[in-house]
């Protein structure tokens, strides 16, 4: 397989992780209007948890599942702290999630130390591309498809969408808006955890990886203004491929800057017509 094809596959693999993190942000933001700064911590916690569970002798699959489950529970807890107190504004909740992200540092260093960690993924390579990247792509496709079905086809999903569209009207028809918000946080936590579990075999994780993760996820999601799952996936894939190409043909030093520059450009370009798009 040619060099270009390798970069494309790794790029799509990385992009899937960005898209998963971004989708977590989107699910939470749509339902609660809170931008969850602790989104990267879900990934780090899940990945670190998997290293421990694997070391304890549990098989692959189970270990990764437990990591994602832990991230969902942590997501629920973050939601409880950030939105549980009545009258907390989304702006205040953003700062609370920032604090929770820092609190996660304390927990992570306490249990796992401050050195980067990793665990083996799916071994082997086809034509110079690690098979693990293909696994990332396959799992992401299945999971994001399932999330889309959940939102479109189930009563729970419709209740979530209703809450996102108009919390007041949703409450009027008997939807428990607070519970929907917490459920969104749990789903967001699981998606973030999944991103961490999938990416760690090809990219070490340490306690402070969360900032890069949340920034990449936010950059992926910003294309769809944090509300459009489809555009978030597109944004993630675009960023993944472009940064893999930049890393491959230019310099790995600039690789992580791609998402940052992209985010700034999209934000500023959109701010020009802010009055139309956003009232708040």
């Amino acid at each position: 397989m040619g060099e270009l094809a390798q970069y494309l596959v790794t790029g799509v693999g990385l992009g899937c992780a960005y898209a998963l993190t971004g989708s977590g942000l989107v699910v939470i933001y749509r339902v609660t209007r809170v931008v969850n700064f602790a989104q990267g911590s879900f990934a780090v916690l899940a990945a670190l948890c998997v290293t421990t569970v694997l070391a304890a002798g549990l098989p692959h699959g189970v270990a990764e599942g437990l990591g994602v489950l832990l991230a969902a529970v942590v997501g629920l807890l973050v939601g409880l702290v950030a939105t549980g107190k009545p009258g907390t504004t989304p702006q205040a909740a953003l700062i609370v999630t920032l604090g929770l992200g820092v609190f996660a540092y304390a927990v992570e260093i306490l249990f796992w130390g401050d050195q980067p960690r990793s665990f083996p993924g799916l071994g082997g390579a086809i034509g110079g591309v690690q098979i693990h990247y293909l696994l990332i792509i396959a799992v992401t496709a299945v999971v994001l498809g399932a999330v889309a079905l959940l939102f479109a086809r189930t009563d729970l999903g419709r209740a979530l969408t209703a809450t996102a569209a108009d919390p007041y009207a949703a409450r009027a028809v008997g939807i428990d808006v607070v519970r929907m918000g917490l459920f969104a946080f749990a789903v967001g936590g699981a998606l973030g955890g999944l991103a961490g579990v999938l990416i760690t075999p090809v990219q070490q994780v340490s306690f402070d990886s969360d900032v890069a993760l949340v920034v990449n996820g936010f950059s992926a999601a910003i294309l769809g203004n944090l509300t459009r799952p489809g555009l978030t996936l597109a944004g993630g894939l675009l960023l993944g491929v472009v940064s893999a190409l930049v890393g491959g043909y230019l310099s790995t030093a600039y690789q992580s800057d791609v998402a940052l520059v992209f985010m700034l450009v999209v934000l500023i370009a959109r701010a020009g017509r802010r009055d139309v798009v956003e009232a708040a």
Partner: protein, 311 residues
């Protein structure tokens, strides 16, 4: 509360003479944080915006001073250039970026800081990841500031200067305009407040404060690296500003003092024999986090404004 200012000033002037060398370093770093936090508190309190990139301006100031003094610029001039460079940079990025609001601005400022660190880390003229070393001491007319105590008083002077400028700004026509802006942008704009210009002004001023702190930092420590100004430093500034009370100068000073001293006490405790090696970082992260969360949820106005209201 009127007595608090002279008391604080007297403490700040007398205390350094009695501090041990290690404590003096903490005192100086506290003062430098306070300068940056006064600026951030103005920005967050009066312009109503969250910035997660304040440490970028500290870094800009530090690198400006450091590079100039390495290239044989008179030290005092190099120090004066630090806040100017930071303010200019703020104006430059502020024009596009300050059109953003809320979480968008928070992420944009965060992205700008990470980009700046990445550029500094890759730039040979800035020493790359190793940074700048062997920076000269600050000297004024033949008198070289080579003692920690000299820098302690320099920092006290810096905090005083920054607080006075902030105080004047808040009490001026601009300050009233900014207050109107923070409570209702549309109403302020309709009453003729030049919203964009004022917001840019307060952004530039807050950057200049951080830049001045960075300049003093470069002369005090004598070396700089991109790693000296991590994202976490910006978050620490936010914690200090929020805990003390946004928009309050006294709050910014109190927040910086409370958190620096608190974390220092815990670090001392955590480095006692028998404590595990990770104890200091675990404890300080936990304190930053819990204080920030508790204050946002239960004392949303911050300590100083809440005390003022109740007294």
């Amino acid at each position: 509360m009127k007595w608090a200012y002279p008391v604080a000033a007297v403490i700040a002037l007398v205390l350094p003479a009695f501090l041990a060398p290690g404590q003096l370093t903490v005192f100086i770093l506290l003062g430098l944080s306070a300068m940056a936090v006064v600026g951030l508190s103005l920005l967050m309190g009066y312009a109503g915006q969250v910035s997660l990139g304040q440490a970028a301006f500290t870094a800009l100031g530090a690198y400006t001073s450091g590079l100039l003094s390495l290239h044989h610029t008179p030290p005092l001039l190099a120090l004066a250039a630090a806040p100017v460079a930071a303010a200019l940079a703020a104006v430059l990025v502020g024009v596009p970026v300050l059109r953003l609001r809320g979480h968008q601005l928070a992420f944009a400022t965060l992205a700008l800081q990470i980009l700046l660190l990445s550029v500094l880390g890759g730039a040979e003229w800035a020493g790359g990841a190793v940074g700048l070393q062997g920076l000269p001491y600050l000297s004024v007319g033949g008198f070289e500031l080579d003692q920690d105590l000299d820098y302690a008083y320099l920092v006290v002077a810096g905090v005083l200067l920054v607080s006075l400028i902030a105080h004047r700004l808040v009490r001026s026509r601009v300050g009233r305009g900014l207050r109107a802006l923070a409570t209702g942008e549309m109403a302020a704009e309709a009453s003729g407040v030049p919203v964009g210009a004022y917001r840019l002004l307060v952004f530039a001023v807050s950057a200049a404060f951080a830049g001045l702190a960075g300049g003093i930092y470069s002369f005090f420590l004598g070396y700089l690296a991109p790693g000296s100004f991590p994202v976490l430093l910006s978050i620490e500034y936010v914690v200090m500003a929020v805990v003390g009370g946004l928009g309050s100068i006294a709050g910014a000073l109190l927040g910086a003092a409370l958190i620096t001293v608190g974390v220092q006490l815990l670090t001392t405790l955590a480095t006692q024999p028998g404590m595990p090696s990770y104890a200091p970082s675990v404890l300080s992260y936990a304190v930053y986090a819990l204080l920030l969360i508790a204050v946002v949820l239960f004392v949303p106005k911050g300590i100083v404004p809440t005390l003022r209201r109740s007294s």
